[in-house]
Symmetry: C2
């Protein structure tokens, strides 16, 4: 059973996990240092706990205690109860969803272990936008991708905004982070994956055609997506088995609409992987 | 040739088109009243002008005059040149792309005229998020959708954020706005379109199967997408020829990941329409 503690001082050191939630740089270092992440809102908190992440603490307005009572009954973590003004003063913005949890991160698996039983894998290189990472995890989870592998510098799926945009899908799909960008793809290749590099370049093989041509012992495909601005690095493009593209309308190309955003491309790619 | 006017007073009434660009409610009424929209950044301004929208005026830092000289040479509109601080004081935020244009809206076509020669149409019901509308237009344009029809209350594709997120694709694809939500779909039906209503409901017909089954004189399909929170209204779902879904992974459903966001769904649907 959780311990309930009423708090009213935004500077209370016990609330240090929750400070300035919109300050990306502060949060990155704070969350890395303490090995935590923030779950926001009843649904996301419920999913984080249900996935097995241990809670460090909770911070919520009193009206959220009852809806979350089943969760709070099964934790030993302190539950800080405060009025909305205090929560806002700590978090630095009005927390519309009213309930926050500071969760302990768990060690990530090694890439080789992650993909040992996977058939469909996404590989994300250096995405910078947390909302995009969250959206891509949601697509991947919904469309049956088995695992996601991140480049060393790719944005964090457990950052508050990623978690929120993913609707908790970041908990539903296992992921790993490469320790080396340089050698990162070799483990996937060693595990027998065909590496497909998605590019807007229309001279590449159409994705559907490339997927139809994949013939391996277990039909294992790793689809690589690059960063929002520049796409995949030339090194990773070179290392892929095939560069693949989503064919675009000729009229669109003539009109200067020559690419999709990375979330749209990921959605189409995950859908194609599922069939 | 444009007239260049140096300005330094953020309260200068000639800059009224550009005030408080992040104040959604103010901008909605101001833009409707004056029949204008804002294009932001060199690329988007170039596309807006290239599409045939007349410029009311431009507002930019001096460094943008030269890169846009070819555009400015062919306009009679005033070009207000100001330092970054003045532009920021007017717009209400730091305009990183440095150049703004106030463009005159053009009359929208009637739905019947819009779709007269179209084969693939998207119909958007009451989307509220401008970024989603922009992203969906980008997908639609890139993947060969011929036209977009908006419900009366659907968010504005020419709102600054829609335009920006679409990368100018809102200029590349023609659209109309229904005058009546109640009767809005009847014009599409009268034009011979098969109406497919996209829903997360997994008991609906899979989209690919429904598309394969469409047999009409010209294979005309209107794909309907609902709002972010509630999806399509029950009235529109009832009026559709078929409710269709994007099949999701059974494992994901079991994990509580039971839908895609509307942009991901639109991307997959546009891709399916193109094939």
């Amino acid at each position: 059973m959780a311990r309930f503690v009423t708090v009213s001082d935004p500077a209370d050191p016990r609330l240090a996990d929750y400070v300035r939630l919109r300050d990306v740089n502060l949060r990155k270092s704070l969350e890395a240092e303490h090995g935590l992440f923030i779950a926001e809102g009843e649904k996301v908190i419920r999913r984080a706990v249900g996935t097995g992440y241990p809670a460090r603490s909770f911070l919520m307005a009193r009206r959220w205690v009852e809806p979350l009572s089943d969760v709070l009954e099964r934790t030993d973590a302190p539950v800080y109860v405060a009025d909305d003004a205090t929560v806002q003063a700590v978090a630095g913005f009005p927390v519309h969803r009213g309930a926050l949890a500071s969760m302990k991160r768990l060690p990530l698996p090694a890439t080789a272990d992650l993909v040992a039983d996977a058939r469909r894998v996404l590989v994300l290189e250096d995405l910078v936008d947390h909302a995009n990472v969250g959206s891509i995890f949601r697509c991947a989870a919904a469309l049956g991708v088995n695992a996601v592998v991140l480049s060393p510098r790719c944005a964090d799926p457990l950052y508050r905004r990623s978690v929120k945009v993913s609707m908790g899908a970041v908990f539903a799909i296992p992921y790993a982070r490469m320790t080396s960008w340089h050698d990162g793809l070799s483990e996937l290749r060693a595990a027998g994956f065909t590496l497909l590099a998605l590019t807007p370049d229309q001279s590449a093989v159409p994705l559907d055609k490339a997927l139809a041509a994949v013939e391996g012992p277990a039909d294992r495909v790793a689809l690589m997506l690059g960063s929002e601005g520049d796409g995949l690095s030339s090194r990773w493009l070179d290392e892929a088995d095939h560069a693949v593209c989503i064919p675009m309308s000729a009229a669109a190309m003539a009109n200067g609409v020559d690419s999709l955003n990375v979330v749209a491309a990921a959605a189409i790619a995950c859908h194609a992987l599922m069939r």
